[in-house]
């Protein structure tokens, strides 16, 4: 090879190497994982062009593969995203949060929804199991732990436990937690996952009225008192007294619908932000953001106006009566939730003692009243413990013949320092506390023997009735009849000589039930008397349908009839009505001869009152009660007004 051709081939080889090198250099761009480039060569050599071409092919294949992988990944992601969204949708709809517990690491992963359910920020971070458990109410935690571990141990098919958990606002929410273990081939638990459902709402709604319930009130009160700054507020308790009359002779679902309708109308009478909360015994609570009496009066007026209208039910009109109690909250003198509720309860209880429609505001004197109540309770408990119940009796006299038709047994308590205490200072507390039953039992133990007491029989015969008062609670007690029959049997007397006295208020608290019970009692041969008729709000409508034998007209209607013509008209109308309805009539509270004259003119025979005798201790009866003399109209008797109708004691 010549020098020249050697140089030429040297030159050719160098160019070739440079061109190969150029291709290599271009390929260096791939170092960053970037394949978006193109190999180029200037060479005329087919081999180099091939090299460039096939490198380009490889690069293109890499790009294509990456693109395909990315497309697949995108598609998978979209699908996962879609599924997640769909799952989230389902979980949102069911109000569920999701949790996952990796048992080995002890880590808990909580879903966004889980966190937001409790108002917690969702940082997506893993937490320890304790983070979760510590939020759970102290009283519920052990149970939650137990159900988790029981399931891990394979004792239970799943976790299913309800508990209270604290949310971000430090309020309690009720949640239902369900979970399931994933296990390996040997049945060893690897992880547990499940849902948490907020059941607070279910727990917070009153099923009858669909209003928020007492648990809700409790929560709201706690929230309001946790606010800073505290604001003036008022807690109002509003009670419907005779809801039972809605159910009177009406199908239950119709009555429930009427009640629900009424409740909705009541709700609309309130400012939108004031919740109407349903409590037991047809009581409703409301929280107002003011403690000014005037503003509260204004706010409650529409509600009361609504209830002054009758409720239409089954084509009938029913008037519901109500009372309310208000406890204002003064931020300057904050009280606890329990105290606040207690104050409103006191105000309501006090309102119940007054006329229907009345509203009581809590004040210090109510505390005093409450203390008295508690003193009354002490008195009752003392009397029960020391057999301090005393039976007094007051005769019901046939004015025409002077015969004793019966004795009303009246309860008195003996207290060592106060002596004899009359029912006015304890009966209400006794009824409310349920202590009336044992008191009544003791009274009966003393009263029943009088029916076979020789001295009494000799003096007053074997026909008089023993009339006993019953409280609402006793009346509604289904065992009442059995108790009376058993007590009579124990004392060897006939229960047919018993008469029970019930008040209108008792009967109207649940007329259907009361009527049923009274029917049974009368069917057994025990007489039923309606006591205190005319003292409170009386319903003539009830008078016509009530299963009873006797109406006892209250002294309220009788007082001053001799001097007030209008009262005389009312009394005469009531007497005439009872006579027309064939009820026996006993007029109570008759103290004067003139009154008796009038009553006799209207044909009333049976009289109970001071004119014959005040209530006497049972053990002094024979000694202190002179046999009554038959009434002689003045024309015949010629006696002066006010003359005594009893002969001097024998």
């Amino acid at each position: 090879m010549s020098e020249e051709s050697l140089m030429a081939s040297d030159e050719g080889e160098r160019r070739l190497i440079a061109q190969v090198d150029s291709i290599s250099n271009q390929l260096c761009q791939a170092v960053d994982g970037n394949f978006e480039f193109h190999i180029h060569t200037d060479s005329d050599e087919i081999a180099l062009q091939k090299l460039a071409q096939l490198n380009n092919f490889v690069l293109d294949s890499v790009r294509r593969t990456i693109r395909d992988l990315k497309a697949t990944r995108d598609e998978l992601e979209t699908r996962v995203e879609e599924r997640t969204q769909r799952l989230n949708l389902v979980l949102t709809a069911t109000n569920d949060g999701v949790w996952e517990w990796d048992i080995d690491s002890g880590n808990i992963t909580l879903s966004q929804r889980w966190s937001s359910m409790l108002g917690l920020p969702h940082d997506g971070q893993q937490r320890g199991l304790d983070d979760w458990l510590l939020r759970i109410h102290d009283d519920d935690r052990a149970e939650v732990q137990r159900s988790l571990y029981q399931h891990i141990d394979g004792l239970t098919p799943s976790v299913n436990v309800e508990y209270r958990i604290r949310d971000a606002r430090k309020a309690w929410r009720m949640v239902l937690c369900r979970g399931l273990c994933q296990r390996d081939g040997n049945g060893v638990a690897i992880r547990m996952a499940g849902t948490q459902t907020d059941t607070t709402e279910q727990r917070l709604v009153d099923p009858l009225t669909q209003l928020p319930n007492g648990a809700y009130l409790d929560m709201v009160l706690r929230e309001r008192l946790a606010r800073a700054p505290l604001l003036p507020m008022a807690l109002v308790k509003f009670q419907l007294l005779n809801v039972a009359s809605l159910f009177d002779g009406v199908a239950v679902d119709v009555a429930v619908a009427a009640l629900q309708g009424l409740v909705q109308r009541m709700r609309r009478q309130l400012p939108p932000r004031v919740a109407l909360i349903a409590l037991p015994e047809h009581t409703f609570a409301m929280i107002f953001e003011t403690d000014a009496i005037e503003r509260l009066d204004n706010a409650l007026e529409p509600l009361e106006a609504l209830l002054s209208q009758p409720v239409e039910i089954d084509g009938q009109q029913v008037w519901l009566s109500h009372v309310s109690g208000v406890a204002a909250f003064n931020p300057a003198e904050p009280v606890s939730v329990d105290e606040w509720r207690h104050q409103s309860r006191l105000a309501l209880a006090n309102a119940r003692l007054s006329d229907v429609g009345s509203r009581r505001y809590y004040s210090e004197p109510l505390r005093h009243w409450e203390r008295q109540n508690s003193r009354a309770e002490q008195l009752i408990r003392g009397a029960l413990a020391t057999r301090g119940v005393r039976c007094f009796v007051q005769p019901i006299v046939n004015a025409v013949t002077g015969e004793i038709r019966g004795f009303e047994a009246l309860m008195r308590l003996y207290e060592p320092s106060e002596g004899i205490v009359t029912p006015s200072s304890f009966i209400e507390v006794a009824e409310r506390s349920g202590l009336i039953a044992p008191l009544w039992g003791m009274l009966m133990e003393q009263a029943l023997p009088m029916l076979r007491d020789d001295k009494i029989r000799r003096r007053f015969g074997d026909d008089f009735l023993l009339s006993v008062n019953l409280s609402t609670r006793q009346l509604m007690d289904p065992k009442l009849l059995d108790v009376m029959i058993a007590a009579s049997a124990r004392h060897g007397v006939s229960y047919r000589r018993l008469q029970i006295e019930v008040t209108e208020t008792s009967v109207l608290s649940d007329p259907i039930k009361a009527f049923r019970i009274l029917d049974r009692i009368r069917a057994a041969g025990i007489s039923v008397a309606l006591d205190d008729f005319g003292s409170g709000y009386s319903s003539l409508a009830q008078l016509t349908s009530m299963p009873m034998d006797t109406v006892k007209i209250d002294r309220e209607l009788v007082m001053n009839v001799t001097s007030l013509p209008r009262k005389r008209h009312v009394l005469s109308a009531v007497v005439a009505l009872c006579q027309r309805l064939d009820y026996r009539i006993v007029v109570e509270g008759v103290e004067e001869r003139d009154t008796l004259e009038i009553l006799r003119e209207w044909g009333v025979t049976d009289i109970q009152g001071y004119i014959y005798s005040q209530p006497l201790p049972l053990d002094r009866l024979v000694e202190d009660l002179a046999p009554p003399r038959p009434f002689r109209p003045r024309a015949t008797a010629g006696g002066p007004y006010g003359s005594s109708l009893t002969s001097p004691a024998a």
């Binding site: 193109h38 087919i46 062009q49 091939k50 460039a52 071409q53 096939l54 380009n56 092919f57 293109d60």
Partner: protein
Amino acid sequence: MIGLIQRVLIDHLEIHHGKAAVESIAAQAGVLSLGRRIDTDYDDADTLAFFAAAGDYLELDFDALMTLYADLFIKWTRQHYPIFFSMADSAQAFLGRQPAIHASLGAGIRDPHLRDRVSDKFRVVEKSELKLIVDYRSANGLCTLYRALFLRVLEEYGQSGELVETRCQHRGDEACRFDMTFAEESAA
């Protein structure tokens, strides 16, 4: 079209008829600068015009030119892309891979549109041991070339077989379809 196609013909003409002949054929075809880089895409119209002019020069009709060209082409590709041949142990295996070979050579084109244009021309519709169906879709309408190459490939592998063009762009079909069958026994 990728320069490889005309290069095979240019090389042949240069060797057997001289540089001057190639230049006059190019002038006849109206091709100003004749490219022959196998990694570069040239104007389809230039390629087709050069082929037509070469046919005139060689006094061959299109079928004969294609038969000649197929022979040149297989020889040329066997020399420069021997692996494509050794990878396939039969004509049907080679022909079955042909669309992929085109796509890989087309992948060398810088412009993605043109790249796809090359890659999309051929598509295997059906492939089994003795049967192959391929679709060919191209404005260049070179199904004659395909048929010639088919026969030449059979010869290369010493096989016999048959090609029926069941669809053809020249007959108004959207694409040409080559329905190919291969004899069981080798013809050799």
